[in-house]
Symmetry: D2
Subunit: 383 residues, 4 copies
């Protein structure tokens, strides 16, 4: 923690993300998008030949056969990486994060944070001790319109929150893709690599995170109905939940990977005692604000009236659409600022999802599965 | 039941619908829209002066001081009404329907069908005995796109139904309107006139009816969370429910009258093993059909490719929007055809919501309230 | 002009609208929708048998073999019609209007007003002399959102108008429908019945009328490019025009009946020095208002913030969509109010399209055809 | 032209793009997005201090005081740049391109291609002689949905093209921004730096390019009406045009920078004898396809049914929106492939906008201005 990062790009390493990975390629674009970091090392596959080939395809100067080797080697180089990007299946999130944290290397990890709630709790402790930056790519909170939504709730523009409708529905697992050699489907439906939940862990957590992020309210209890519609699948591929919020508000959350014809339909609707708002990830540059007695408002990213935070996360003038990569890159941008702060002895300021958000996510997964196993009993969402 | 209706407009009478009524005026437009019926008599208010003034404003030839008087008088006139339209608050639906049925007069009634489940069961018996037409204005099933949706499910175009998302959210009761002299709000939030449920009875039943209509599947059990957000209100103004369908499908239903900024957002999304569909009442002339691996399709009312039933309920060429009144009028149109059939000794053919739909609605209300009182217990939706 | 219409429905007669007519059926719904008039007489076809059958299908008490006969007979009856609805092909608009005006009977006529500009000028004189109500069904100005748009321009909310984009595009004549026995297509593409223009007369005039209605500005000159894409067709089926407005504003107008896949896409966009607005007939209950530096506003019909005029033309609460018929009926509603005023000796107040709008329409058709024949020369739009 | 680029990122230099530049920052993101190139040198401003500061902010290893110096120095370095990005105001496009082409360095330039038509013709010659890659960032053709649209036209899915509606409207110059120190506004409204046209050159050319790209048809003549609405402005800020296409099709093109409330509304609608299509830049991942007699189709980027070319330019699964940067980066991606081909002795394959597109753009600007000066005379769009 005494690297001088003031006049150079940050140096990134990646674990996972080898050929065939979806999210690895996303991280690669996101990390480089603003020209603030360069990717210089990787342990991109547990298969060394594949790791090597992947690294070469990305012009990486340094390729490693294992993450453990990489953590050690990079920590000892004067030009070693400043942070690692974890883009493996879930079961590897914790051990990889641990290895790099222990070497004093900052971490940006994919979600859900860990394989189990226990690991999540342990990781919180590790991060707290490390004084390092740990950012979790709950990337949807990187959208400028989502930041605006949070700000408007904070400003009291919606009044007291009464009702929340959170959805994340897709269709890509409506057939047994895991039996066709699809790598993504294979690990995501495998309890050994994904954890106790499938759909709920993969995308339900995004909906939960978005809901708590925008409303600033914690879900206090839930009643869940998890389903597996595709025969032979070991994990849930659909879930419906009733929610209660800490302020007395109520909600619904639904997530699905078998909703025929849906691509990546994450959305949130929030209704308060004064107004409502609505955001849809598939048209991310518009925030819909609904005040009774007033025309519906469409707030558009990077317009002057948006909050400073929202505008700071926009790169183009209004009407030049930004999308998934740019939102993802915003999580990196915020994490980079903290890495630079921490490395120069300043206080971290956050702004990106952290280990605490990750813990909430693991708690959500755990309690939802419990509730469903108990026939939809209301379960408190606490440790 | 031996009126000759073959070469004339049908003659309608109305109970309720006096000045200040919303739904009465809707029925008036709907009944006359196709030029198939004329409104000739009314008992438009329990206040005789008001009844008289209302009848005069509508140029009604005959005004009565009470529905009982009207039923008798009209039954004994050679030019008496063929059917009665019931547009009163809920607690009067049953007694009015009973009075006219007993006089051999067909009935078109507003929903929910009765004040209580018991009345609903009794009404079923009365209607069955009467051999008269009883139509319930679950008007949203009158939309041509809704008929198309049902047909597509029937044709198997969606495959086996797996997931259903039903919503009906409004905001008009987000403030205590019932305390401001608003007639609509006043009776709808009054257990003496509305029944055991508020929002669930008023609009939740529409969502339930639409869901069962389009999917052709019965809800077999539900877990409900009813809320009253406006202080001092005696009935629910919001509800969230988990649903299970007879074929193993799952669903969510939410209804609200406190969803700030929402006007009249009734929608249904249905996902099957082959495809999904989506319909929104506020843009009623479009049906969205989503087949994985194919472009999303927007089906538009009265296009040649729509089903015969759907086209038969459309009056304008595509792109000339039809709306709420026309859908409402479709229920009347279908009921008229049956009244003409029955009066000429033919078999009734239906096509409009009947007393059995009304019974489902009352059962839905009853079981939802029970479930919520039991902390969201799963309750079977059966008698 | 001394009928007592104060406590009864108005009595309507119809010329045209026989079986196979599209617009006749629209007028029938529109005239009856508010329960303010009843249709009692018709000369529905030049073929007497067809006229009789059409009248019977609509339960008309009186059917005539010719409009001339009808005008005389009705004028001499104590219970004769108060007004006539003209729903014939264009070439009959003038003679029918003349016949009824001369009998002291009010007129509601379909558009374009006449067959030729000369007839239009003559009709202006006839109407002025008659002191009768003459309403032209430029029905799109009957939409509540259109009234709101006009009001906002009048209020100065858009500033000085700079740019106008008017469109009315359809596809129903993209094939030679007139050769397949389609009655609508047949007369609309026939110079003997339609006049000197096809598409420009049939729908271009609606766009022109809407533009001048909403902006309150006259088109002062135009440069037009009319096309006939379907081989063998005698009249234009597509047109593009450059416009100049009286205040220095500029515009484009396009109309087409060969725009593949378009249903009935009438829209107007207006940009001023302060703000812009946008309205689309196919989603008629929303008016889009765009102020630079502010969120886009979606104004919704019958919300409290709409103008009194707009709300007075709305019948349902927000979110209960009104459409084509209701807008059409609004023209009738406004005309009825004036008929009642005139019959009771009061001053007519207008609010509906009149003979002067009809004259503008005929001028537009005439000048557009001239400009196109002169290779797109700029032609002044004046008499 | 004998650099070995096979196992490394390409090396880029930039001219222009200094602090305050909008488009420079866009190019920076676009060039790096796929990890195929790195930016290593710049002459980012004519002011050396500013150039230096800009280069430092972007961590550029090499900063030059002038483009001429840069061209020479880089050409002589073994690790010199492979290509230059030109992101200056229009008047510098030609001299910069010339300087680098003469040094054997590939060029990616912003549009419009040159200051004048004469320069454009000269540049064509220079590029042809050089055998180097010259790519022009008509970035909107980089959108996957635009490629799909072109393919569908080519496949004959629309039939013979009859009507085209091209629009590019914005509002950012509706006030005299050039008088407030806004750098962008200042040079874009300055005939010394922008050329003979303002709005028509800046964005009209994009609409023209998109139209010819998608339809595969050349505009053969046009009748234009250019306007300057903001007082004191030296160049046009709005234009309306009638178009004729080489196949007999007709069209409209409108561009504006004073359309109050519009952000960046580039759109194209194309109607053929069989079907129509519609694309809107602000919702770029959807292509609307309209076949008469069939449901409207929404084609979504990266779905399996999209063309191979379209999918090759998509990076994320459907529903993960890509936007402006990704489309821009696609132009780079295609140019990179050609640079690698050319450097390894293979044939260039194109796929990106070239010097010939640039020439069309300059011809369009020139003829539009001529037509408008001649009162809207039809002018042939040829040299």
């Amino acid at each position: 923690m005494s690297r001088d990062v003031s006049n150079r790009k940050l140096r990134a390493g990646i674990v996972g993300g080898g050929q065939g990975s979806f999210i690895g390629a996303v991280h690669r674009v996101a990390v480089a998008l603003d020209g603030e970091a360069e990717l210089v090392a990787g342990a991109m596959s547990s298969d060394p030949a594949r790791a090597e080939a992947s690294a070469k395809a990305w012009y990486l100067p340094r390729s490693y056969g294992s993450f453990a080797e990489m953590a050690k080697a990079e920590a000892s180089r004067p030009d070693g990486i400043d942070f690692v990007m974890i883009t493996t299946p879930n079961h590897m999130h914790f051990p990889v994060a641990k290895a790099f944290l222990e070497q004093g290397i900052h971490v940006v990890s994919d979600k859900p944070m860990t394989f189990s709630l226990e690991e999540a709790q342990e990781l919180v402790t590790l991060v707290e001790r490390s004084k390092l930056v740990y950012a979790l790519t709950h990337n949807y909170t990187g959208y400028p319109a989502v930041r605006q939504a949070r700000q408007m709730v904070r400003n009291g523009e919606l009044g007291e929150i009464r009702k929340v409708l959170a959805e994340y529905i897709q269709d890509w697992l409506m057939e047994p893709q895991e039996k066709t050699g699809n790598k993504q489907a294979s690990w995501r439906t495998d309890p050994q690599r994904s954890g106790i939940a499938g759909c709920v862990g993969d995308i339900g957590t995004h909906a939960e995170n978005l809901l708590e992020f925008i409303t600033g309210l914690k879900i206090t209890s839930l009643s869940a109905d998890l389903s597996t519609f595709v025969e032979g699948r070991a994990l849930d591929d659909d879930a419906n939940m009733l929610l209660r919020l800490e302020n007395g508000g109520k909600g619904l959350l639904t997530c699905s990977q078998i909703a025929a014809g849906e691509e990546n339909a994450l959305s949130l609707r929030v209704y308060g005692s004064k107004a409502g708002l609505e955001w849809h990830q598939q048209e991310p540059n518009t925030l819909i604000f609904k005040q009774p007695g007033h025309p519906v408002q469409l707030l558009r990213t990077n317009q002057g009236y948006m909050s400073d935070e929202s505008k700071a996360l926009s790169r183009t003038p209004p009407g030049h659409p930004e999308g998934f990569f740019e939102a993802f890159a915003n999580i990196y941008r915020l994490a980079f600022a903290d890495i630079r702060r921490v490395e120069s002895g300043q206080q971290a300021q956050g702004g990106y999802p952290t280990v605490y958000d990750g813990l909430r996510g693991m708690l959500f997964i755990t309690r939802a599965v419990e509730s469903s196993r108990q026939g939809g009993a209301w379960i408190d969402m606490k440790l």
